[in-house]
Point group: C2
Chain length 235, copies 2
């Protein structure tokens, strides 16, 4: 591997489940949702139906909690053959509203990592999802000051990263992206010539799971975020 | 008024109801919604209740069609005292889904204006709302090529414009914003030292209506968008 310190100009971080927890809130919400519908279908089948609705709604609704709320409601109406009472739909709305108001809990060593790298590299936050919701989480996180640029993207595919890199006015080989999703944070960045760093989180949304068989010296896997500092030692 | 040609470097356009129609789709949807609930309340009262829900949800949901869908559902549950059948809620979901798939119809002379100004000024699209939805509309509009920068904002207040102007690396007095909302497009820009151009649209969402009593040589009102070309004559 080349000397990373010389190669890299911009280090971009995913947010959800890379800097703070997110998927656990979705998992909790799904459990509550499946409970509300267990009179109609077994809970694991309810969850399968919900996932099916979410994926088919992605092109129309995108990512985020409002999309999730609408998918819960649509799944409930379909599963119950339109027999679900309004009082239960209200509970689903409330599950979503609670999610929007959850605290932002930073993952281990996030502040240490940002503090150590800031000033030595341009740090970018590159997150996918609902604009207002991601802005709110960033404010709650108190991490704004570390970032030179915040990019909230509707998708994280190769072209989206190409656009970001162009906007940052650097070459792909000077760009490193760190995140918990191989599919959204790592693979597309490696494909376009950048560095992709995978820091797995204990829970991954089914739609983000992929099989990967990749050999590249720009592909790095870490057990935890703080190990990134070993790649960029301070002299 | 100073010579605008010398003063202005960036001309920013609002999108909804400035470049293409939007509010008419909301107005149609509101009518359908009030029809669905007329067994519970008179239609004008239903609309007042919906507006109340939308405004109180703004901090949590932000702008856009998904927020509107959730507000319809919440209003229906409240008004009906939880008696609204799932089949009717499904109709509300479908009202929203149809809105998301509406065509983008450009307003008069939009392409002429953009074509004439492009190259002479940096043109920016500055729009509020749901990220995915606004991106989709921009693609459908075929106007992307005219813009040097696209900014999708969760709010359009003074600080949001300050951030945009900083990002564009210009002074406020070199920035002109054109839009149909006095509250979101014109007033905050004038307050921070830029030029605000109001092009009224025949329908304005109640929440965007304000009384204004403003004297400023940076406040310009036009009857229609194409009149902007009179401000920037080609020699």
């Amino acid at each position: 591997m080349k000397n990373l310190h010389d190669a890299i100009k911009v280090i971009a971080f995913d947010a959800d489940d890379t800097l703070w927890n997110n998927e656990t809130y979705f998992a909790e919400a799904e459990q509550k949702f499946s409970e509300l519908l267990e009179d109609f279908l077994p809970r694991h089948t309810v969850l399968r139906e919900l996932l099916h609705t979410e994926i088919s709604n992605l092109p129309l609704y995108g990512y985020g909690i409002k999309a999730f709320m609408l998918s819960m409601i649509e799944t409930a109406i379909r599963i119950s053959d339109k027999k679900i009472p309004a009082s239960v739909i209200e509970k689903m709305v409330n599950i979503g509203r609670e999610m929007l108001e959850k605290p932002v809990v930073l993952l281990d060593d996030v502040e240490l990592v940002l503090k150590t790298l800031k000033g030595r590299y341009r740090l970018v936050l590159a997150t996918k999802g609902d604009l207002l919701d991601q802005e709110r989480k960033l404010i709650k996180s108190n991490l704004q000051e570390y970032f030179h640029h915040i990019e909230i993207m509707s998708e994280k595919k190769e072209d989206d990263y190409r656009k970001l890199i162009r906007h940052l006015d650097i070459k792909p080989e000077s760009f490193m992206m760190i995140g918990n999703s191989l599919k959204s944070d790592v693979m597309p960045v490696i494909t376009i010539g950048g560095y992709g760093v995978h820091v797995p989180y204990h829970t991954t949304w089914a739609h983000e799971k992929i099989e990967v068989n990749l050999e590249s010296d720009r592909f790095i896997v870490l057990d935890k975020l703080s190990e990134i500092l070993h790649l960029f030692p301070e002299n």
